[in-house]
């Protein structure tokens, strides 16, 4: 058990994820550690772009496991998420085996006898051969375990949520024709949600609930440092300070971590050594995605830069 699960402590989780370039806060590390220890899925909520999906990727990379991703959308159903019968193959096989069936059943004198003989074949056409495994079933069949990412669960229908309950609590699914398929090795399940709609209590009950908000300034600096190594320390401090000021505004879409990283890359690309009014104004569209937001933020740029630089001096 111990060798397949190298999660000795919360610190080990933190450093393991950091090695993959994912700087986790204490709470995230605790969640990951607990999910390993008590074998529970994690439901991650938070605004877009704070690294919910990245967390699953980082865990998979760190543990050296395969990541299976199920992107949810409206109308997603059993056939696309769990399993499907290979109808075409079934049809093809019945055609090919037609003669063979005739041979086998040739000896039968009556219809009843033929039927009896047919029963002895068993359910050849509804066996594992003809099942097309979809992400959820695939995840259960991985012999070495895997990270199952069920992305944006809030986009799917309420019915799909109920379908997930069995797999989340017992790591098994029931296929009517085949019976219950249990996980070979329990997968690490990560569900993400943007809180577009409230999830059911039944689903929430089965998960550890982790809310990732915008990171604190220090943490965000470390994240930018690990993702954009070429950026100088003063610029990093300034830009993160600036983004924190922007987040205090009342905007339609606040810039999140992914936007911060993009912006840092842009600034490095433009070879900026420190923030000034001109460069911020030109690159503000990297941070803010709505015209109205940009308009609201533009008059504040100078004062925000001043504040951000001052912060840098004292810390």
């Amino acid at each position: 058990m111990a060798d397949t699960r190298p999660t000795a402590s919360i610190e080990a989780v933190e450093s393991g994820l950091a090695a993959q370039g994912y700087i986790a806060s204490r709470q995230i590390a605790t969640a990951v550690y607990l999910s390993q220890q008590i074998e529970k899925p994690i439901l991650v909520e938070g605004p877009a772009g704070v690294g919910k999906t990245e967390l699953a990727k980082a865990i998979a990379a760190w543990r050296g496991m395969k990541m299976i991703r199920l992107q949810c959308y409206e109308g997603l159903d059993e056939a696309k998420a769990l399993y499907e019968w290979k109808y075409a193959k079934q049809l093809l096989y019945t055609q090919i085996l037609k003669d063979k069936l005739g041979e086998v059943l040739g000896g039968a004198q009556s219809l009843a006898a033929a039927l009896d003989q047919l029963h002895t074949f068993g359910d050849v056409f509804f066996s594992k051969e003809f099942v097309e495994p979809r992400p959820l079933l695939q995840a259960l069949e991985q012999p070495a375990g895997c990270v199952l990412l069920i992305d944006e669960i809030d986009k799917s229908d309420a019915e799909f949520e109920s379908l997930l309950l069995e797999i989340l609590s017992d790591f098994q699914v029931t296929i009517p024709e085949l019976g219950t398929v249990s996980a070979v090795a329990p997968p690490t399940v990560i569900l993400t949600s943007n809180s577009e709609r409230d999830l059911g209590d039944a689903l929430k009950r089965r998960c550890l609930h982790l809310h990732i908000g915008f990171p604190e300034q220090k943490l965000e600096e470390r994240i930018v440092e690990s993702r954009v190594p070429g950026i100088s320390q003063t610029l990093r401090k300034q830009m993160v300070g600036f983004i924190h000021e922007i987040r205090s505004l009342d905007l339609k879409k606040l810039p999140s971590v992914s936007e911060a990283i993009d912006w840092a890359r842009v600034l490095v690309l433009l070879q900026a050594s420190e923030l000034d009014h001109e460069i911020v104004k030109d690159t503000l569209n990297v941070l803010l995605k709505y015209e109205a937001d940009i308009e609201a933020a533009t008059p504040q740029i100078s004062s925000f830069i001043a504040k951000a630089s001052r912060q840098g001096v004292f810390s």
Binding site: R26, L34, Q37
Partner: protein, 458 residues
């Protein structure tokens, strides 16, 4: 420790966090993994396993801080307590020494509680209080009226009787000691009172809130006291949230039994039209469309506050809501309600059309002239008002046309049925053109009325 965890779960429930037995089991398993050493990790663990929304996380965090700021009856302390008792009754040298330092009096004569108080051993006292609280089942406290009885019970369990006897006895023999004991007793009472108040805060909140909400729900909106307005707003917001949870589920539902031939053929084209997969016809439902007309005139000013709040929340539940406010004339307020917070929106609406004397006829005429096209055969029209038109022309003919154009016309009146039609009330005349007329004076009636309206679209 398990006992403490259970007490914490109860406190969490008191703080409004729904902790199911399954979740408490998970939390226990999780705590067994992380241990109690690091308080931050413990806090994170509880937040992860018990709280399932942002609000719950905040409430649970506060509850955690409050809970663990009080002394816990720990095992070692309890044992220490026992040895204290032993030493007190056995009067071994160390206890004597202790007593000599503190009072310089013969302490063999006073009880264990007096001993403890005289030695000024804070941790022992707080442990004793915690143990006595356990004995008095303090976590059962629900209402603030129970504070007195729990204080008495705890003090009794700590042996206050013996202490009083001691004081009586010492007043004659050693007045100085008696005085010190009396002072210590007063201090002790204060500490116990604080402990009980804290417990009430921890365990009693939910019950107290339920009781208060129950009273508020049935209180007439027009006669809410100013200090209750904030609570009432919170209650209306709760109602709105419940409505949203209940009715924001997708309306798509399959109607089994009627085969959709066209879609079935198309879906099965891959295997030569042999129908492996069937497609069924879906039932189409009307999307809710609501037009709300809210009276904000002086006569209903107190109630209209809550009406507006509810309309504001309707905007969140239903996509297609257009709302209008009127007293002397009528304006559209959809944009204000959609873009601003409830408080700001209400202030702005009130400053624009509020507090005038109402003129239903004129307001209906305004509506017909400018916005009649907003009403389609799928629309439900809600009118919130007392129908008191200051003896001006009621223009019931416009209301009739509104009723004919719409799917339903609902009138919610804050006044009781008894007074409809008396004075300048035009309710009977309007009522003939309405699909439903309801009295709507309390939060509960308001919730039912709105819930019925939204439910017709489900």
């Amino acid at each position: 420790m398990r006992e403490n965890l259970h007490r914490f779960f109860r406190a969490a429930r008191g703080a409004g966090v729904r902790v199911s037995p399954a979740e408490s089991i998970d939390a226990m398993r999780a705590v067994a993994q992380v241990g109690f050493n690091d308080r931050d990790i413990l806090r994170n663990t509880f937040l992860l396993t018990l709280a399932k929304t942002q609000d719950e996380k905040r409430a649970l965090g506060e509850c955690f801080d409050l809970f663990f700021s009080q002394p816990e009856p720990q095992q070692e302390n309890a044992e220490q307590n026992k040895t204290d008792d032993n030493s007190a009754s056995g009067a071994n040298p160390s206890a004597d020494e202790h007593g000599d330092n503190a009072g310089g009096a013969a302490n063999e004569n006073v009880g264990p509680l007096a001993q403890m108080l005289l030695s000024q051993d804070r941790s022992a006292i707080s442990t004793a209080i915690a143990n006595a609280s356990g004995a008095a089942s303090l976590p059962d406290i629900r209402y603030f009226t129970q504070r007195g009885i729990f204080q008495t019970r705890i003090l009794d369990a700590m042996g206050i009787q013996r202490l009083r006897d001691d004081i009586d006895e010492q007043t004659t023999r050693n007045p100085a000691l008696a005085e010190r004991l009396q002072e210590a007793l007063n201090g002790l009472r204060g500490t116990v009172r604080d402990a009980v108040s804290q417990a009430l805060l921890l365990y009693g909140r939910e019950e107290a809130e339920n009781l208060r909400n129950e009273i508020l729900r049935n209180a007439p909106l027009a006669r809410i006291e100013p200090r209750q307005v904030e609570q009432m707003r919170a209650l209306i917001r709760q109602i709105a949230r419940r409505l949203r949870e209940r009715y924001s589920k997708p309306r798509k539902r399959q109607r089994r039994g009627h085969l959709d031939v066209r879609r079935t053929l198309r879906r099965n084209a891959a295997w030569g039209g042999v129908p492996f997969l069937t497609a069924w016809k879906r039932k189409h439902r009307d999307r809710p469309k609501i037009v709300a007309l809210c009276d904000v005139s002086g006569s209903v000013a107190r109630v209209s506050d809550f009406f507006l709040l509810l309309i504001h929340s309707l905007h969140e539940v239903v996509d297609d809501v257009r709302s209008f406010a009127f007293s002397g004339h009528l304006i559209e307020v959809s944009d204000i309600l959609e873009s601003k917070s409830p408080e700001e929106a209400m202030k702005e609406i009130m400053s624009k059309v509020g507090f005038g004397s109402s003129d239903y006829g004129n307001s209906f005429a305004d509506f017909e002239d400018n916005w009649m096209s907003a009403i389609t055969p799928q629309t439900t029209v809600i009118v919130l008002g007392d129908a008191r038109s200051n003896n001006l022309d009621p223009r019931a003919d416009i209301l009739r046309r509104i009723g004919e154009r719409s799917k339903r016309l609902v009138w919610l009146n804050p006044e009781g049925r008894m007074v409809w039609g008396f004075g300048d009330s035009e309710m009977p005349r309007y009522a003939t053109f309405c699909t439903v007329v309801r009295q709507c004076a309390t939060a509960q009636q308001l919730e039912r009325a709105v819930s019925d309206i939204v439910a017709t679209y489900q």
